[in-house]
């Protein structure tokens, strides 16, 4: 068991280093640089800027220096937001993104799973049709449409919620709903189909034949197995949701870290791109690992070993 953890740990480190390396070299292959401006910076000034950020060193030296920083959790300075390091940006932005992300995750799990179960139990009933209709809608509507609609209607027309920022409890409603829309619908659909499949299994029929109460059959026997695919989805989803969404944070004007994933690429802010990628990758790997542990807890047939 312990050797399994050690192995997982080292493979995770290795994966992150590979990801950082690939990101580093891929970004440098794209034309343009962090000081590319609408108004082109003269060569002499560009040279001064590059010297200031050690971008004039040979690429391989820059790579070694970056990796040296990375292993000590120093993600380097941002080239675009003067005076801030990538660590600063994550420290300032992550709490906001995570707050919305946690609320969205709670909403997704607490609504998506029960709704999926009910829908499966009442298969082909009006409730089922309604849930599936809403779920299809939720999966197909892009989050920016939901977000813009919420702002236009509930903030602009009705004035029920603030139009931007997170300065009141009501302000959390819009971003949370818009952020969870897709995953909530997806989880509901996934739970339903997985539940339907489990309900057709022999052991469920056996349990029912033994006269176990329906509540116990569903809650104790069927649900556990039905949740495995859902957990597989939710693990990585949490990593994605907690690190922020570019669209949601832009539309609701939230000071999170989601925007950096897109803006840093447009800005060629190399250190921010790698920093964000590595942070997300590390988060992702941890979540996948937790999912594996959850498997072994839910289903005793699954054992964690190499």
């Amino acid at each position: 068991m312990r050797s399994y953890y050690v192995k997982r740990f080292f493979s995770a480190i290795f994966t992150i280093l590979i990801i950082a390396t690939i990101t580093f070299f891929l970004m440098r292959m794209i034309p343009g640089g962090p000081f590319t401006r609408e108004r082109q910076v003269p060569d002499e000034i560009l040279a001064a800027l590059n010297a200031r950020y050690n971008l004039d060193d040979p690429l391989f030296i820059q790579y070694l220096n970056y990796m040296k920083g990375l292993v000590t959790f120093d993600l380097g300075p941002s080239f675009r937001i003067l005076g801030y390091s990538v660590n600063d940006l994550i420290r300032e932005g992550f709490p906001t993104s995570a707050k919305i992300g946690i609320l969205a995750t709670i909403l997704i799990v607490s609504v998506g799973i029960p709704v999926g179960i009910i829908s499966a139990l009442k298969q082909n009933s009006p409730i089922d049709y309604f849930v599936m209709f809403m779920a299809t809608l939720g999966v197909t509507l892009p989050s920016f449409v939901i977000a813009t609609f919420i702002i236009y209607f509930f903030a602009g027309q009705l004035g029920w919620i603030p139009s931007n920022g997170l300065n009141s409890p009501l302000a959390y409603i819009g971003p949370t709903i818009a952020l969870s829309g897709y995953s909530l619908s997806f989880v509901a659909r996934l739970t339903r189909s997985s539940m339907l499949e489990v309900l057709r299994q022999d052991y469920v029929r056996t349990a029912r034949a033994n006269g176990i109460s329906e509540f116990k059959v569903i809650g104790k026997h069927a649900l556990k197995n039905a949740l495995i695919p859902v957990i597989t989805y939710i693990g990585p989803m949490i990593a994605a949701i907690l690190t922020g969404s570019f669209v949601i944070e832009k539309v609701f004007a939230l000071p999170g870290m989601g925007g950096y994933f897109v803006e840093s690429v447009t800005n060629r802010d190399y250190t921010v791109i790698i920093g964000m990628t590595v942070f997300y990758a590390a988060f992702y790997i941890i979540m996948v690992f937790l999912v594996d542990i959850a498997y072994s807890m839910i289903d005793p047939r699954i054992k964690l070993s190499s």
Partner: protein, 554 residues
């Protein structure tokens, strides 16, 4: 489920407590700045959002309000007879920490701005100041000691220029030339301009001083009691927001959360122009255009068809430029843009007080489609000059490419141009777009046939636009090499006689449009939405907002 509900409710309660606002009788102004500025350090800044904030927190030698240059820290100034020495007499004033501001602070700020070690991306602006030795310091490693700026005494600041420079004093309103305090800049923890974003470290001399800064969210500015002209300041607190999304800012404005937003969703513009008295459209001193690549082989000389391709031919360039209905494009762009016949936009007054744009005229480049017939004739003439049939020319134009940086707005205009050429001249030129940093690389490498361009002036003189097409200028994207044009520009800069200065510039633009290295499309505009109870706000003609004398009258 109950437990979960309990957790949620208590979570919401805790958040609610934190958000309670205390009663406040200050005059508060809610301003959307737009994007979170990269820096608020005047010497390091290179962006308009940062410049807008700096214009509230710092004060330069002069302040430009609605086109009028007013004394700032300089009480008065005089220019020597040969136009090469400018002496500023500073008033006695204080920094926000109560210490006196002297001429040495200007000397420090200016030398810091031009020092390559500071790596200020806007240090190229020194090239346009004509300050003795500044160019050398910025570009060639020249010593900062040789720069012609001197603190004669605490309150006398003298500047030596290599050429008389008519716009020099007005340029001093620009953020790059504002003073900074050495001890604040060099304070521990304030590296890379961070001091200007840190309420603990910041020292400034403008109408307002920074008291709060939250990355990605907003900032708070409060009235600076040490400001020399503090009596005119009518606002106590400016709540600045970093709302990047125009729709969100617009919704917040309508909900009453914001009093001033710098841009609105373009779809709303026509309705606002027609119906809102809170909506303002200002000319922005710049031009949207397409560059023809006149030096396709990149050897630094404009040659003929064999070396430099189709767009070496002036008649063809003119025919293409005349086959564009600029009014239709402006209408589609929808923010009150002005059709461009030349390169200099409305807003520059010449020595006789006439608008340069109006006086220069249209050079036969029609705003609408009335020159289409003439364009067809020119097109046929161009074909014979190139030694081919009209059909062959059309076929060859269809192998060329019109390049723009990826954006819906640019795409719309490119498609309109493509359609106008197709209907009038009978060829469909393929369009191409590239992500903007890639586009920049392609364009400056000269690897294009026709490419989009846009330029805004940095100072109040038409040379701020025309000079980019000088042979050695790095922004000369069309690769236009005309010695006679260069001479006219140089002569306009070397004279102390305003009449000669403008004569040369008029002649330069006429020669330029005669050669048609670019297709001017329109002159930019700037839009903003301001609640009617905000009074006394101003805007500099170069586009910076100014709340130093604004107040709120609800």
């Amino acid at each position: 489920m109950k437990k979960l509900l309990l957790v949620l409710v208590s979570f919401v309660l805790v958040l609610g407590l934190g958000a309670c606002k205390k009663a406040n009788e200050d005059i508060v102004f809610n301003w959307n700045i737009g994007a979170d500025p990269a820096t608020l350090d005047p010497s390091l800044n290179g962006a308009s959002d940062g410049g807008d904030v700096i214009n509230q927190t710092f004060e330069g030698l002069v302040r430009e309000i609605n086109g009028v240059v007013q004394p700032g820290i300089a009480e008065s100034w005089e220019v020597s007879g040969d136009g090469r020495t400018v002496t500023f007499h500073l008033r006695e004033s204080n920094w926000s920490d109560g210490t006196p501001l002297t001429a040495d602070d200007f000397v420090y700020a200016w030398k810091r701005g031009m020092d390559p070690a500071t790596a200020s991306e806007y240090s190229w602006i020194w090239e346009y100041t004509n300050v003795v030795g500044a160019n050398d310091a910025v570009y060639n490693g020249g010593s900062l000691d040789d720069v012609g700026i001197t603190a004669i005494d605490d309150y006398t600041f003298e500047v030596q220029l290599i050429n008389p420079t008519a716009y020099f004093v007005s340029l001093m309103a620009f953020y790059h030339f504002m003073p900074v305090k050495q001890s604040a800049v060099e304070a521990a923890g304030g590296e890379d301009g961070l001091w200007a974003k840190d309420p603990e470290l910041v020292v400034s001399n403008g109408p307002f001083v920074l008291t709060e800064y939250n990355i990605g969210e907003g900032l708070v500015l409060e009235r600076n009691p040490e400001y020399w002209n503090a009596d005119v300041v009518g606002i106590d607190v400016i709540q600045g927001k970093f709302i990047d999304d125009e729709s969100t800012a617009y919704a917040a404005y309508n909900a009453g959360d914001l009093d001033f937003i710098p841009s609105v969703p373009s779809a709303e513009v026509p309705i606002l122009i027609a119906e809102s008295d809170e909506f303002y459209v200002f000319p922005l001193l710049g031009t949207y255009y397409y560059s023809f690549n006149m030096d396709k082989d990149g050897d630094g000389v404009n040659e003929g068809y064999d070396q430099d391709g189709l767009f070496s031919n002036a008649t063809l360039r003119t025919a293409l430029s005349m086959s564009i209905d600029r009014e239709a494009i402006c209408e589609a762009a929808g923010a009150g843009q002005v059709p461009a016949a030349g390169f200099v936009p409305p807003g520059f007054l010449d020595n006789e007080g006439n608008d340069f744009f109006l006086t220069a005229g249209t050079y036969g480049v029609a705003a609408d489609d009335s020159a289409y017939a003439a364009a067809v004739t020119l097109f046929a003439q161009a074909a014979s000059e190139l030694g081919m049939t009209v059909a062959a020319l059309q076929a060859e134009l269809e192998t060329q490419e019109l390049l723009y940086n990826t954006s819906e707005g640019h795409q719309m205009i490119a498609e309109m141009v493509q359609e106008m050429w197709a209907s009038n001249l009978g060829f469909t030129m393929p369009l191409a777009n590239q992500e903007w940093a890639v586009f920049q690389d392609t364009r400056s490498a000269g690897d294009f046939e026709i490419a989009r361009g846009g330029w805004l002036t940095d100072y109040m003189d038409p040379s701020g636009l025309l000079s980019i097409f000088g042979s050695t200028n790095s922004y000369n994207d069309p690769n236009y090499y005309n010695a006679a044009f260069d001479t006219l520009l140089a002569e306009s800069q070397a004279t102390t006689d305003a009449a000669v200065h403008f004569d040369k510039l008029y002649a330069a633009q006429e020669m330029f449009i005669g050669d048609m290295p670019i297709i001017p499309i329109y002159h930019y505009t700037d839009t903003m939405l301001v609640k009617d109870y905000v009074e006394g706000w101003a805007r500099s003609v170069l586009g910076s907002v100014d709340f130093s004398q604004a107040t709120i009258n609800k």
